[in-house]
Structure formats: structure tokens, C-alpha cells
């Protein structure tokens, strides 16, 4: 309880102000989806906050228990519908770990390029929507969408669909990229820093943003680790825990990139750490484009499993594959009983677990701050409710 106001709340018991119970309910312009917070207010001050979820719950895990392994792949696009390819990546890794399928070099590079492009999309859209919660009348969001359109057009040419890509297969990717792919990615990578500079010039030193976001919703280090917070929210609190550096899954070990770390762990740090992370993703993309080899994009076993999904034999046993999705650690715990269907399919969703500390950060803050704290955690309800 870092809020002085609350400490001497009790001494002023004579001052019986009436508590206002508001539900920032499922239909609210800035809860990023159908998410409800029951807030007890004293004036503008938040006393208690209970998140209520489950409005978008479609029991994704039960659905997957009667789908074949390949048929689950298009459903993972719908988990965190902003970063479809990051979900595919995590699911493909988990199944490959369980079934022991090899992935050729070119496919590894394509996967890393697609994952980093998705990280760019997720972070600029997050910055845009955070500014929308702060009240900027759609200008940062539309600058972000202008850049996102270029990336989505690239995804449409490569994977076939803008957001629901369904591009990864076990053992590689579905299809090789069009010939001008490398050129277009290079053009985006060269032009993206200019856009980031323009966005920073508009936002980062804006006094209203600084005063609104600094020292708001502070997440202490110890609580962050204990509550299993991952992703930019954890790194903004000062802990350099990035799964691309810890597990070095796929071929992330080959790329040289840095991990930005904040100190105070407030909304401003979470905002600025994401902008620095975008610049690091551009470094990875730069190296990946220069080193991408030619060759087949899917292994023999993978191609055969994609053509005839019934023949994919996944041995009995369980496996847990995790990757650094833009929102945090996205893990898939899969149990197979040898039949063509997963026996148990569990998604460790970063947004869902990052919400555990929403109440701790919001107590003592103002109503307007609750909205931007929720925005800075960056949740997507498809992933929270599954």
C-alpha cells in the first residue's frame, strides 16, 4: 500500500464520505475488450478493485481436445488476435518439442522475422491505444495504424490473411515467401526508425504525458517476480528477464540484441521500454535479413504432416513450450496420449497472469489512472478468457 492518503483514512473516521461503487463494465470504451472492473471509489480515489472476466470465454482448451494437432493451429491465431504469428510460433515449438520434429534453417529465419514483425505491430498498437486511454484524440493510434497497414499487407502477401495468418506448420512454415519479401522487409526496417522518431517527438517529452504517466501504477520488483509477471511489464520494473535470451529457443542465440530495462516500474517506464524494444527488434530483423539462407522451408516430415495431418504421430508424454510473445511468456502445455488429438492442451497466457497485480497497482490511484494502468499492462481479452 504505497498510498499515504489511505494510511490516515481510518483516523478521519468522522469524515463519513459516501463510497461510490462503479463497475467499469464490459461495455467501456477503454477496457480493450469485454473486461469488467468493479471499483469502489472515494471521490476520485480507488479503494478496492476486483477484475471480472469470462465474457469472452469459449473454452478454447476443451475445443482443442477434439481437433487434430494441425487443426489446432488456426485456432491459436484467435488467442491473442493482435499477434497471430507469435501464438503460432509458441504452439509449433511445443508440438515440435513433443514430437521431435526438426526445422530447416531457412524456416527458422522466416519464423524469427515473422515473430519480430508481429512484435513491432503489437507494440505500436499498444502505444497508440495507451495514448487513446490518456485522451489523445486518435492521433497516435492513426499514426500507428498507418505503419501497421504496411506490415499487414506484407503478412497478406506471405501468409494469405492479414491477421489470422495460420502460417506456421510443424517442421517449418506453410509456403515460401514471395521473391520481393526480403526487399520489402528491408524497406520497412529502414523506414521504421523514422516513424519511431516522429512518434517519440510527438509523445515522449510531452509534459502532459510525463505528468500523467510518471509515478502512476508502480509495480515493485519483488511483487512482479512473485506474481509471475512477464514481458515488457516485468522489464519495466527492472528485471532483465527475456525468454529469447534465457531459453535461446529457435535461433535467437545467433542474434546480438539488447534488452531495455526500466527502474521505477510505472506506466511511463512500461510505455518507453516498449519503444526501446521496438528498436531492438529492428536490430534483430536487420541481422536476420542479411543472414537468411536459401533452401527448403519445411522439413520432409513436416511437409508430409501438413499434406496428410492424420499421419502425424505424436508419442505419448507431455511437453511445455514457451516463447517471448510481445505481451510476455506465452507457453503451451501439451499432453499427448498417442492418438491424433491432444489429450490436454493448456495455454499459459501472459495477459491473464499479468492481471493478478492490477488491483495492487490501482489502489490509491485516481479513476483516470486505473484506465491507463490497465492500458499499460496490455491485455487482449481473447488471450485472457481463452
Amino acid at each position: 500500500m504505497n498510498c499515504p492518503y489511505l494510511q490516515n483514512m481510518d483516523q478521519q473516521s468522522t469524515l463519513d464520505t459516501q463510497r461510490l461503487e462503479v463497475s467499469l463494465g464490459p461495455q467501456h470504451p477503454s477496457t480493450h475488450g469485454v473486461f469488467q472492473m468493479d471499483v469502489v471509489l472515494d471521490g476520485e480515489q480507488v479503494i478496492r478493485l476486483k477484475p471480472v472476466m469470462g465474457y469472452l470465454h469459449r473454452n478454447h482448451e476443451k475445443l482443442m481436445e477434439n481437433m487434430s494437432w494441425l487443426a489446432c493451429m488456426p485456432y491459436t491465431d484467435r488467442l491473442d488476435y493482435f499477434c497471430a504469428l507469435a501464438n503460432n510460433f509458441s504452439y509449433a515449438l511445443a508440438v515440435e518439442k513433443l514430437a521431435g520434429i526438426e526445422v530447416p534453417e531457412r524456416a527458422q529465419y522466416l519464423r524469427v522475422i515473422m515473430a519480430e514483425l508481429t512484435r513491432l505491430i503489437n507494440h505500436i498498437v499498444l502505444v497508440g491505444f495507451l495514448l487513446n486511454d490518456l485522451g489523445a484524440f486518435f492521433t497516435p493510434v492513426l499514426y500507428a495504424f498507418r505503419e501497421r497497414e504496411k506490415l499487414l499487407d506484407l503478412f497478406e502477401d506471405v501468409t494469405g490473411s492479414r491477421m489470422m495468418c495460420n502460417y506456421f506448420r510443424f517442421g517449418g512454415v506453410k509456403r515460401d515467401v514471395p521473391p520481393d519479401f526480403i526487399l520489402r522487409v528491408r524497406e520497412i526496417v529502414n523506414q521504421f526508425p523514422k516513424f519511431l522518431d516522429e512518434l517519440e517527438e510527438l509523445l515522449t517529452h510531452n509534459e502532459i504525458l510525463l505528468s500523467r504517466c510518471q509515478n502512476v501504477g508502480i509495480l515493485p520488483k519483488a511483487l512482479a517476480v512473485n506474481a509471475g509477471i512477464t514481458g515488457p511489464v516485468l522489464r519495466a520494473s527492472g528485471i532483465p528477464y527475456d525468454i529469447r535470451k534465457i531459453d535461446k529457443y529457435s535461433i535467437y542465440g545467433r542474434f546480438k540484441f539488447r534488452v531495455p530495462v526500466g527502474e521505477a516500474g510505472d506506466v511511463y517506464d512500461r510505455y518507453y521500454v516498449r519503444i526501446l524494444e521496438m528498436r531492438e527488434s529492428l536490430q534483430i530483423l536487420e541481422q536476420a535479413i542479411n543472414e537468411i539462407p536459401d533452401g527448403e522451408v519445411i522439413s520432409k516430415a513436416g511437409a508430409q504432416a501438413a499434406k496428410m495431418p492424420r499421419t502425424l504421430k505424436v508419442p505419448k508424454g507431455d511437453a511445455y513450450g514457451r516463447t517471448e510473445a510481445p505481451k510476455g511468456e506465452l507457453g503451451f502445455y501439451l499432453v499427448s496420449d498417442g492418438s491424433g488429438k491432444p489429450y490436454r492442451y493448456h495455454v499459459r497466457a501472459p495477459s491473464f497472469i499479468n492481471l493478478t497485480v492490477l488491483e495492487d497497482m490501482c489502489i490509491g490511484q485516481k479513476v483516470a489512472d486505473v484506465i491507463i494502468i490497465l492500458g499499460s499492462i496490455d491485455i487482449v481479452l481473447g488471450e485472457v478468457d481463452r
Binding site: 484524440f137 527475456d242 539488447r258
Partner: protein, 384 residues
């Protein structure tokens, strides 16, 4: 010839009066002349509002790399008309729990002050609806009642979010009313009269008050508090959409919402008009007709307000009030002192002295608020 264009509206009114005068008695003629002025204002107000909304949407649209409305009419010119029709045909929902009388009273009484206020604004050389000797006092007396009606609307709709919005509106108006009035007082001190016409006449030739040191500070102060008075960004807390849905006009739909919308834009127009009257020399201008000068200056000020809306996030309630009490109010007092000195000293000395006083005071206020001002941060990298 220039003079005829300048007085074109007065001549037109005179012609109408001359046509009617043989048929009607004397006292009826006075009523008719007043009636003509009222009709023009009541038509001019909503039309200005409609095309201000279109101007805003196209201006901000271009800022955001898009066109803005261009479907109805040639360049979207009929868009306000289609908005109006939509507002008329939309169902007017009154929440069951709402207090029907207060809910009904809200929008009507918000429109009254924004229309009344036009009566003291000098649109051109002797084109002022009613030349009151206490013009400025009338303007502020009427404009500040709008807060009361916003609160009745918020309280009447029995909705937690609009209640929060109403509370914020009252808190914001109270803390911005005082710096607003104080930023006008130097001009009155120099001119010596409340009447808006006198203020504009005192700025003969190019001696607009904005070119004097205290005038510049007064202009910035009055413009900022004017933006806050009108609930526009970055001070639009009473209708903070992202936090409290739509603030005081959450429960309004159809024509009632259109009235709130119209009141907001007419207030913006009237506040910019007053800022031009007091600090930018009203309709004073070299060659062009007087009313053209007036509308050009007001148009520039309104587009600055819209420019704010396209760029800034919203301030938080306590920061907003802190900004008023800690920043604008002390500056307004010192500005009053500087203007007094400016009036009583001769030419070279008064400008220099008031200029020094003001710059020193601005720096002192800036230093005094160091503790609150946000600091810039540097970020480390792991895995260098």
C-alpha cells in the same frame, strides 16, 4: 467603397426597416429592429456550430493522414446537414431512473448562455447587437452559469459516470474562473471601461494589446483559461470519454445531445471572439472590412483550439487544478501589477520594466513548481 462593404450589414438592416416603416407604428419598428438582430444571431449561431464541427473533423483528419468527411456534398460540405438530420431522427432515450425534469432541463439551459453571450461581442464597426456599458461583466456573468446547468444535466441523469463528470466540471470551472477574470482585468485597467466597444476602440491602428508585454501574457492566460472554460482538450475532463464514458452527457441522445454539442462549439466560438476583442484588437485591421478581420482572427484562434485537440492527451483532475492554482493564478496577479506599472510610466521605461517583471515571475513560478514537474529519465540495457 470600402466603407460600404464595411457597413453592408447595417445598411441591409436599414433597408428592411425603411421598407416596413410606412406600414407599422413607431414602437413596432423598434421591436422589428431588435427582432432582426435576434433572428440573425439565432440562425448564425447554429450555422457556425455546424461548420465548425466539419472544419474540426477535416482539420484533425488531415493531421492524421486521412481526408476527413468527403462523402456528403462536394468536400463533405453537407456533412453537418446530415449530422443534424441524424440528430433529429435519433430516438431520444430518457433513462428510467433519471429525474425527468432535471434531465429535460439540462440541454435547454446550456444553450441559453451560449446564445446570450453573443449579444455583447462587437462583430464589426458599430455591428454590436447591444452595446452595453458593462459588456465584459455581462459576458462572464452569463458564461459562468453554464456550469450550473452542466451539473443539473449530470445530476439529473442519475448515472455514476455523469455524476463524476459533473463534479469534475464544477471543480474545473471554479479553479479556472478566477485566472480568467484576472487575465481580463489589465485590459480593463488600461481602457478604463467595461464596454467591449470601448476596448476595441482603444486598440486603434495596430496598437493591439497583445503587442504589449502584459498583453502577451494576458492573451496566453486568457486563451488557456478560455480553453478550460469551454471543456476542450487538454482540459476536457467533464466529458473524458476514455475514463467516464461521456461525462455529463452520457445519458443524452438525439436532439438533446445535439444541443450539448452545439453549446460546446458556440462557447468555443464566443470565447475566441472575446479573446480577439480584448487582446487582438477585435475588428481593427488595416484595409479589409472590419467584420472580415474579426472572423479571420476568431477563426485562427478556434483552429488553434482544434490543433490542441489533435495533439494533446488529457490532464488528470488534480494536475488540472494544480496547473490553475499554482501556475496561472500567480501569473495573473503579477500580470495585473505589470499592467499597472505599464500604464503609469512613460514609453521606454514601462515596456522594459513590465517585461522584466513578467519574465522574472514566470521563471520564479517555474522554479517554485520544480518539485511537481516531471523529470526526464535515462534507460539502461541488460545483455549489452
Amino acid at each position: 467603397m470600402l466603407n460600404t462593404i464595411d457597413q453592408i450589414f447595417i445598411k441591409a438592416k436599414q433597408i428592411i426597416l425603411d421598407i416596413l416603416s410606412p406600414f407599422l407604428p413607431e414602437w413596432m419598428m423598434i421591436l422589428i429592429s431588435i427582432f432582426i438582430v435576434i433572428v440573425t444571431l439565432c440562425v448564425f449561431g447554429p450555422v457556425v456550430m455546424m461548420y465548425l464541427t466539419l472544419l474540426e473533423r477535416k482539420f484533425i483528419g488531415r493531421m492524421q493522414n486521412r481526408y476527413g468527411p468527403n462523402r456528403c456534398g462536394i468536400f463533405g460540405l453537407l456533412q453537418p446537414l446530415s449530422d443534424g438530420i441524424k440528430m433529429f431522427t435519433k430516438e431520444d432515450i430518457v433513462p428510467q431512473k433519471a429525474d425527468p425534469f432535471a434531465h429535460f432541463l439540462g440541454p435547454i439551459t446550456v444553450i441559453i448562455p451560449s446564445l446570450l453571450v453573443f449579444s455583447v461581442i462587437p462583430f464589426g464597426r458599430n455591428m454590436i447587437p447591444s452595446d452595453l456599458s458593462i459588456g465584459i461583466l455581462f459576458f462572464f456573468a452569463v458564461a459562468s452559469t453554464s456550469t450550473l446547468w452542466i451539473f443539473t444535466a449530470a445530476w439529473g441523469s442519475r448515472n455514476k459516470f455523469s455524476l463524476l463528470g459533473g463534479m469534475r466540471a464544477v471543480a474545473q470551472m471554479v479553479s479556472y474562473e478566477i485566472p480568467m477574470l484576472l487575465s481580463i482585468v489589465p485590459a480593463l485597467l488600461v481602457v478604463g471601461s467595461f464596454s467591449t466597444v470601448a476596448i476595441v476602440n482603444a486598440q486603434e491602428g495596430l496598437q493591439w494589446f497583445v503587442f504589449t508585454p502584459w498583453g502577451l501574457v494576458g492573451f496566453i492566460l486568457f486563451f488557456l483559461t478560455g480553453v478550460a472554460e469551454v471543456n476542450r482538450c487538454p482540459f476536457d475532463l467533464p466529458e473524458g470519454e476514455s475514463e467516464i464514458i461521456a461525462g455529463f452527457h452520457t445519458e443524452y441522445s438525439g436532439m438533446k445531445f445535439a444541443l450539448f454539442y452545439m453549446a460546446e462549439y458556440m462557447n468555443a466560438f464566443s470565447v475566441s471572439a472575446l479573446v480577439t476583442t480584448v487582446y487582438l484588437g477585435g475588428w481593427q485591421g488595416p484595409i479589409l472590412p472590419s467584420w472580415l478581420w474579426f472572423f479571420a482572427k476568431t477563426f485562427v484562434l478556434i483552429s488553434i483550439m482544434m490543433w490542441f485537440r489533435g495533439t494533446f492527451p488529457r490532464m488528470r483532475v488534480d494536475q488540472l487544478m494544480g496547473f490553475a492554482w499554482r501556475g496561472l493564478l500567480p501569473l495573473a496577479f503579477i500580470n495585473l501589477l505589470a499592467a499597472a506599472l505599464w500604464v503609469h510610466l512613460s514609453f521606454p521605461l514601462n515596456d522594459i520594466l513590465s517585461f522584466c517583471i513578467l519574465t522574472v515571475s514566470v521563471l520564479m513560478i517555474y522554479v517554485a513548481n520544480r518539485k511537481v514537474a516531471p523529470k526526464k529519465r535515462i534507460y539502461k540495457y541488460a545483455y549489452e
